[in-house]
Symmetry: C2
Amino acid sequence: MAERKRPKPGETREKLMNAALTLVGKGRHFASLGIREVTRQAGVVPTSFYRHFRNMDDLGLQLVDELGLVLRRIMREARANVLQADKLIDESVGIFISHARNNRSFFMFMAQGLAGESRAVQEGIRSEMRYFASELANDLRRLKLADHLSDADLDMTCDLVVRSVAFSLTDILVISPDDEYQEEQVRKRTARFLQLIFVGAAHWNSRPE
Amino acid sequence: MAERKRPKPGETREKLMNAALTLVGKGRHFASLGIREVTRQAGVVPTSFYRHFRNMDDLGLQLVDELGLVLRRIMREARANVLQADKLIDESVGIFISHARNNRSFFMFMAQGLAGESRAVQEGIRSEMRYFASELANDLRRLKLADHLSDADLDMTCDLVVRSVAFSLTDILVISPDDEYQEEQVRKRTARFLQLIFVGAAHWNSRPE
DNA sequence: TACTGATGTGTACAAGTGTTCACTGATGTG
DNA sequence: CACATCAGTGAACACTTGTACACATCAGTA
């Protein structure tokens, strides 16, 4: 009688992770969330939390893992949709931003985690970003778009690109979700950032050093 | 007898702000700090908090104001020390990083606040960054280093520069404060980012659009 | 069928939280 | 000097918090 239904395995686990994301999406900072608060939001008794997570940091780490999946999905979509090289930047930025829009809470969590409380979460997110950057470098190499750059220089360029896009995240997340105009501004500005970087990369080997 | 000394006006206020910074410096996230915790760290009774701040957000806002002063100091020092244009980047990055090192907690607070809980603090920090970027643009204009760029393009370039440096902040803050080698790596990488951006800016007007 | 482990529930408790209140001493101004 | 204001104190409040314990229900397996 204590059981209303027989929940599928992992269901409560997901409810808890979604609850945390929901709260983050409402403007709360992940570091300030408590176990009781999350379980309350999830509609679950506090004790259930411990069946799935050791503590809030642990939950954060598992969110990072899921974040990795989202990023991979973005990469796959970008690879499938970017056909002509000249639209590469605009297309990719568009894809990224629309994902950021659809997974608002998720990316808020990511932006928070970069300077968050848990060192492990921090490192996890940085690692995802590094992976994203290295995949980007591979793609550019494959498309023969950066043949004049050494591997190290290409890696650096991609690193800078990923950082710039990540920073744009904080731009998107502060504007209201339905402010299309501002979103368009961010999209344009981000694309120009990347163009500037790629222009720099194109002329990079001509540098004296 | 309740008073041990006669504290100068604003002394406790400073103690409280420093206490918050200290806790942040120890790895805590500002959003997770409580009033009692801060007053305890400051060696002050909880009630005293309300003599100076309405709540934690208010304290955060006042920290942002002080952050502005620190940034201005950095700018002044950079302007005074950068004599030759060719060392401009390396010098400036060096100055910034050494300040970040000396005011570790402060910059941690800044990095956290960018994706923080309080919208007001967030906006405050972003505003400081915008100001920093516009001052940088003015300097470059004055030094005749970017005459071929339109005002808007120069602003964009400086914006990207400031963002890149700000992101490097998170690199410095995760490494141990006395790891000179890693710090040097961050310094070099940041400088190369900026060089890449400036190379892009130098060739920017040749872009078709 | 009986057992085992995973997952859920309710109750309980000590510790910590934000905030209010009434009080006290020092400071500066009329 | 008298007095209002400022900046500090301690005690008290009603809540919330993390965590522990004992128990209930299900799924799968020997």
